[in-house]
């Protein structure tokens, strides 16, 4: 287990034991990343506040069932993702589309050059699936394996989705005059 995983695991175990102070600590640490993910997905800060709260309530209710405390981060984002998907389904009255993608590993020359600012600047011009993978990978710094776990797809699918998202982002940024070409 990595150092981060150990600290994360320790906090989760303290919560599972019922130490109320540990819950506050857990929320202090993870609220900003969770909120940023949700905000990136829905666009509105106020809506992000509501959805983040819904996600936290679901986390508290499900925490006793988390058997691998060190896997808290992917579990948290999976819950946040479900909360956002439920909201989008209700808002647009359309189910989240499942896109069949090739599992091919794609070499992507853009992978190292996107800055946080560029990702955030172009996010709202992307469809939900591409937006989501960029947020998780670039803004939340989750590994490919963790992104795959959160998104419920193989790592190869995450790579191809990331590849497509970066190209779409580049087009969006170019249209907006960021000169990223």
């Amino acid at each position: 287990m990595s150092g981060d995983g150990r600290c994360e695991g320790l906090l989760v175990v303290r919560c599972q034991l019922g130490e109320r102070a540990a819950f506050q600590e857990l929320v202090q640490i993870w609220h900003a990343p969770l909120w940023r993910y949700v905000r990136g997905m829905v666009g509105s800060p106020h809506l992000a506040d509501d959805l983040a709260q819904d996600a936290w309530v679901a986390v508290v209710r499900g925490l006793t069932r988390l058997r691998q405390p060190e896997r808290f981060a992917p579990w948290l984002f999976t819950i946040a993702r479900r909360t956002v998907a439920d909201h989008l389904r209700q808002a647009y009255q359309a189910s989240v589309t499942s896109v069949q993608e090739a599992d091919a590993v794609v070499d992507d020359p853009l992978s190292g050059v996107l800055t946080t600012m560029q990702v955030e600047a172009g996010l709202n011009g992307l469809p939900p699936l591409e937006r989501e993978v960029l947020i998780l990978f670039h803004l939340e710094d989750l590994s490919l394996a963790t992104c795959a776990e959160v998104l419920g797809v193989p790592p190869g699918t995450v790579k191809s989705r990331l590849h497509r998202a970066r190209h779409m982002l580049r087009s969006v940024l170019a249209e907006r005059g960021y000169g990223h070409e």
């Binding site: 287990m1 150092g3 150990r6 600290c7 695991g9 320790l10 175990v13 303290r14 919560c15 599972q16 034991l17 019922g18 109320r20 819950f23 506050q24 929320v27 202090q28 609220h31 900003a32 909120w35 940023r36 905000r39 506040d49 983040a52 709260q53 936290w56 309530v57 508290v60 209710r61 499900g62 925490l63 006793t64 069932r65 405390p69 946080t116 600012m117 955030e120 600047a121």
Partner: protein, 165 residues
């Protein structure tokens, strides 16, 4: 970076803190345990009272008893649903809840057996005692499992603390 900084340093809103404090409150969870136990135990005692009546009860009394038993069981079912779906018990809560259940089972078993012994035959008293013992055994098993889970988590917590330091 104008949009990133507010998100990165975003404090936990007061409203969220309040909502989560209510959500993890020990009192709220144990209240549901108490309500479920009260409903279930009351239903059991009324059932014993009804079953040991020496003479047939008037229809209205039977209806009243049946209604009270149904209400008690409904409260037990609601509490069970809340505790499994909406407010699951954390390890310490489970130990406290299981202790409460053991006390309630013992009281119900003893009261039911005493009631039957005073009003019905020995065979019926034995049957009630057996039912009481089953309840106590179930509550005891819950307590053993709750203690075991808590000890397991405590060991894990201590091991993670040692590794972290």
């Amino acid at each position: 970076m104008s949009e990133q900084n507010p998100a990165a340093h975003r404090d936990v809103p007061d409203e969220l803190e309040r909502a989560l404090a209510a959500e993890v409150s020990l009192g709220a969870r144990l209240r549901h345990v108490a309500v479920g136990l009260a409903g279930g135990c009351t239903a059991a005692l009324i059932a014993v009272l009804w079953a040991t009546e020496p003479h047939p009860l008037p229809t209205r009394t039977q209806a009243a008893f049946a209604g009270l038993i149904a209400i008690g069981l409904a409260w037990a079912a609601v509490a069970g649903w809340v505790l499994t779906r909406r407010r699951p018990l954390f390890a310490r809560d489970r130990v406290l809840g299981a202790r409460l259940a053991l006390v309630a089972a013992v009281v119900t078993g003893v009261a039911g057996t005493a009631l039957t012994a005073a009003r019905a035959s020995t065979a019926e008293a034995l049957a009630t005692a057996l039912a009481g013992l089953t309840l106590v055994a179930a509550a005891g098993l819950l307590l053993v499992r709750a203690n075991s889970r808590r000890r397991e988590l405590l060991r894990l917590r201590d091991a993670l603390r040692r590794e972290a330091s």
